[in-house]
Symmetry: C2
Subunit: 342 residues, 2 copies
């Protein structure tokens, strides 16, 4: 039902052996000009394409890599996925993309799949980079690059400077004069949520500002969570003057909810996000954010993986840090409401 034409068909038609065809196609070993031309012609005429599957079986190289992301609908990841795919395609690799839904079990499932489809390597943006996961990865035995999974691991990894994003955002808010700064966090217990929260806490602590229990709200990393978050904060008797969000999607959700409720941004409350996704510059007010350069993530992750695949680097696990930079936009301003009276 599928392909009918094999290398042997080509060989027969061209009057040579399949070995010669193979050698010609892969430019490995000698083959006569004439013969080559003949093969070439037959290949063309038969619309022959060698079966990657058979090749993989023989060479134990599938030239297929697996990329696992927690949420392909998050623009940071879709943009990164896009760039990774382009970079790898150029090197002759295809990419099988899995969306783990930020779920621990599904992350494991994805790894199982990665193993059975015979991926040559794995790019893993894991939010649950626990021991179980790391063990599983080790068992598979192919090169791995961890993306955005904070925490020690025996693989190459690329991520932003730990806690820097929310730290920068919170510092910015503090410098503007805010004292009542809330935090809208991501999926609790994940390393990345932890890291983002720590950045906020660190900045607050450094400034000698207290962190009020009710000013920390943690849900998920999507805009829906942001909405819930916005609902929660706007229901407080005392609205914070600023909210530092763990990423832009959350911030957008918060932003919308606040506007719906009649609050003004940034007059009533300032807002910051992280990732600098396209939409943080398309909403209004535009969103102050922290650049998380998905292209840079892609480039570093891919080049690290390629080096491992080629064997051009075989040393200790490397850690690639990507510096962030704050982008001030319209959603942050000096606090205009009176400080709350105690």
């Amino acid at each position: 039902m599928k392909k009918a034409v094999t290398i042997r068909d080509i060989a027969r038609e061209a009057g040579v052996s399949s070995a010669t065809v193979s050698r010609f196609l892969n430019r490995t070993g000698y083959v006569d000009q004439q013969t080559g031309a003949r093969i070439s012609e037959v290949v063309e005429r038969f619309h022959y394409r060698p079966s990657r599957i058979a090749q993989s079986l023989k060479t134990k190289m599938s030239r297929n890599l697996v990329l696992v992301v927690p949420d392909i609908q998050n623009p940071f990841y879709s943009s990164m996925a896009d760039k990774i795919q382009n970079l790898l395609l150029r090197e002759g690799y295809t990419v099988t993309l899995f969306d783990s839904g930020a779920d621990f079990q599904r992350e494991l499932t994805c790894l199982g799949l990665a193993e059975s489809i015979g991926a040559d390597g794995i790019l893993f943006a894991s939010v649950w980079a626990r021991q179980t996961i790391l063990n599983e990865l080790a068992k598979i035995g192919v090169p791995v690059v961890m993306i955005n999974s904070y925490g020690a691991c025996p693989f190459d990894s690329v991520h932003g400077v730990r806690s820097q994003s929310t730290y920068l955002a919170t510092r910015h808010l503090i410098e503007l004069g805010h004292r009542e700064i809330a935090f809208a966090g991501g999926t609790p217990e994940t390393a990345i949520a932890q890291s983002r929260k720590n950045g906020y806490l660190k900045a607050m602590k450094e400034a000698g500002l207290p962190v009020r229990q009710e000013y920390v709200f943690e849900m998920g990393f999507d805009s829906e969570s942001g909405r819930k978050c916005g609902t929660y904060f706007s229901a407080l008797t005392q609205l914070p003057t600023a909210i530092c969000c763990a990423n832009d999607l959350i911030a957008l959700g918060v932003l919308q909810t606040l506007l719906e409720r009649g609050f003004r941004v940034p007059q009533d409350v300032s807002l910051t996000g992280v990732d600098n996704i396209e939409y943080s510059d398309l909403c209004s007010p535009t969103l102050t954010s922290v650049i998380n350069d998905s292209g840079e993530f892609a480039r570093l992750a891919v080049s690290a993986l390629l080096e491992r695949l080629r064997g051009s680097y075989e040393g200790e696990p490397r850690e690639f840090l990507i510096p962030r930079r704050l982008v001030k936009r319209a959603s942050t301003a000096q606090p205009q409401r009176k400080e709350r009276q105690e």
Copy 2:
């Protein structure tokens, strides 16, 4: 360097033949309780996973499908991709995702790749569904479902009702009282851009409204194009009172540019998009749009493809039409400026 443990290792260890192991693993043919348990144990102990590659070679089924989209960063497609992937994973299929960048040559490249990796089927959101492409698809010889590629084709296809989206949007604007309605189109010459433009033209014609040359601007389907578009329109001596955009990304770009230039939306100009992406409800003013249910696209496309794969449907190509629905939001209102004086 990669996997070492094969089915024969398991067989030897369990004291049976590889045939029995295979039968047990695939629940095909009889195998004794005891024997099964023994195999199971060995499989576990050796952390054995059958090689999908070898399986594919033998069965001529890779259980891998290819999905080609024009722009994975477009939320409509990333959302659709996500849903498609989930649906197919449940059926035991993995999906390899390609981003064609809405480029004709790359669409061809993707098909070539799909063929060589031995995809069992193809879900193809093609913007260039021309004869060359259709021929190539036919040559591959696996089931194909075309997504959003208007125009006759010999494969199952799923798309919105032709021209309906922008037609609904334009009608809405007309009903609000607009007469000077501009159109911000997508990549010219693509079938989908054509279709969207036709919807606009049709509504205008029906209402007896003239379409002014300078009120039609066509670029691409992304927000950057939208920005260019916004710049263009705002430079006109006479701004239209409404702009119908070919999708939400364009609309968001237009929206931002207009706001930057000091125009008010919808007071100075009303704006509509298509797709109803998440962000059309997160920006402000929220964007009037036309629902393009990516989940419905995913479901229909997947079920059509599965039927073909299983052979449970083998008849003529089917065309699945997905109806749209307008979502009125804050970006559209009655025109408030005086009609232009001629």
